[in-house]
């Protein structure tokens, strides 16, 4: 039997949102689901950080993606934007279009979403459901003290460039799912190859938003963003907004042991231009190195220095990234046109 919009909201979303609100010591909203608007109370001395992301089937996820993983990822990529701003998650709205609401699918989707939401104390406060080609649009809200936000426009010449975690795994996971690399080893069950494939697949489907790291970087990082479209493109956003350039040592870019089993060119393409990483890229002055290492330890995620911010050659010049290897030789690798999810 088809589910109407209202029973769908009640059965799969509103109930769990209310249940969660009931147990929270500090509710996200003065008024949540069930009225024309949710009402969020301001917090003295804090700004409200807002971000919205739309995920489309076939574009951001494959049609047969596990709905539990999809619920996780839809919220994770939005929480990643809050993390990149140094904002503490508070609430979110969900707009959902789907063709044929199925109970098993919706249950798993809601489970994946709420498990992550509850882990970060982020409450569903409103939404919209409709029929249509599968589309998930979330808007997230977080709190950040006035003046503490990690913006893109604060990088300074001399800053170190850092990234969290390892890069390129999600892109490699996508390639394995799409069978893009026919020569890639397919091992027996329980073998190292199968473990590696599962690791890369998980990186694609269950990214971990670096919320704790974002909070720990307040007051330390000069600039930050999350890597969703690949390091090369995203670092360029910091450079353009900050009017600086960068030098990056590609051999310093952290890669997982699973990724390191692939050919070097593939590793670098995935790590430098692959999408869907959701790690943080940030810049900070060299005298913050010890504090940043400590912040990474507190947040339980590796943080790695990969390069340096440099001044533009002249004030009217265009920002650029100079890639080199560990020996100092310029990188010879075409990154342009390496397609991935999120590529438009």
């Amino acid at each position: 039997m088809p589910l109407s919009e209202f029973s769908l909201i009640d059965r799969f979303f509103a109930h769990r949102a209310r249940a969660h609100a009931g147990t929270a010591t500090s509710p996200a909203a003065t008024l949540g689901i069930g009225d024309d608007c949710a009402l969020l109370a301001p917090r003295p001395g804090e700004l409200l950080a807002v971000s919205t992301d739309m995920l489309v089937e076939g574009r951001h996820f494959l049609p047969d993606t596990d709905p539990h993983a999809l619920g996780h990822k839809a919220l994770a990529v939005n929480l990643s934007d809050l993390a990149a701003m140094g904002a503490k998650p508070r609430a979110f709205t969900l707009a959902l279009a789907l063709e044929t609401p199925r109970e098993t699918w919706l249950t798993a989707f809601a489970d994946g979403m709420f498990e992550l939401a509850e882990r970060f104390g982020c409450e569903l406060v409103g939404g919209d459901t409709t029929r249509g080609p599968l589309n998930l649009c979330l808007t997230v809200f977080g709190d950040v003290p006035v003046g503490a936000a990690l913006r893109r426009d604060g990088a300074q010449a001399g800053d170190d460039i850092w990234v969290s975690g390892t890069l390129g795994d999600a892109r490699a996971g996508l390639a394995l799912l799409r069978d893009e690399w026919p020569g890639a080893p397919h091992g027996k069950e329980g073998s190292a190859q199968v473990d590696d494939a599962a690791f890369l697949h998980r990186a694609l489907e269950r990214p971990e938003p670096r919320v704790a790291l974002g909070l720990a970087l307040r007051g330390l990082a000069h600039a930050a963003l999350d890597i969703s479209d690949g390091l090369a493109g995203d670092l360029m956003h910091i450079l353009e907004r900050s009017r600086v350039s960068a030098i990056v040592d590609v051999d310093a870019v952290p890669r997982s042991s699973a990724l390191q089993k692939l050919p070097r060119d593939t590793q670098l393409r995935c790590a430098l231009a692959g999408g869907d990483d959701y790690e943080l890229c940030f810049t900070a002055p060299p005298d913050a190195r010890r504090a940043i290492a400590a912040a990474g330890e507190r947040a339980r995620v590796a943080v790695t220095r990969i390069g340096t911010i440099t001044a533009l050659r002249d004030a009217a010049g265009a920002p650029s990234i100079a890639w080199h290897d560990a020996a100092g030789a310029p990188l010879s690798l075409t990154l342009h046109g390496f397609d991935h999810f999120n590529a438009d």
Copy 2:
């Protein structure tokens, strides 16, 4: 040439958002488009009202809808939620999926959206664009003083029930576009029939959010919402949230002269169960009648009393609407199953 995401945001949206911010005396956001998040500053003594709506091609608008009208409507239906809450529009985000970005389409869409946004001082602060089946997801933000929001749960027995404007026009406009009523008169150009059709078509495509009325009803209305799914269904939301029932005189429900030329049953179906009206339905005590009439005059929209809120028969009872005509006879009309946009 296909437009990439970044040039698309810059060319059609970010530029106009910044231009608008530059002229605003009170900018909506501390930080707008171009970072991971927008940053909204709290306003002392005010809550932030948040609402999100998703519009899907074929479900909420016809595939050949004029893009200027679509830009208008996508924002209008969201502003209508703020109006229904008594909130003053401040900002919005836009997430947009479209298959083939075309410059003429995007220019017209942005024009329609920004013309309305600028009229209400509502600033674009963030968004997302991607390829996919046409889908528009907006999230709007408005300000409302603590305790002043027009909620759904405040209706009291003895309250008058009011609606703004005229109801049913958008549903009749949809029927004409779909040619649902083959017997409906099609007049010659310049004739009254053509004028009526244009009026009904305009009601469907260019709803006017009742923002000024919503603001004027602060402190007067006990409960309010906007009519998006039809009076019958939407009034029931107030009844359920307020634990009351209602009596409605169907002959008092305001209908335009264009609608009144249709058969009486059709008029009533459109006015009572048609979707896409975006008028306000609200309740208020009888001693507020003069103040409400004055509020309607200030807001330049008709306000009409259509019925009365009554107590539930017993505390455990289900809310219900008793429909009668001007002579007091119960209405004999099946409203259930009268489909329209937004029907799921």
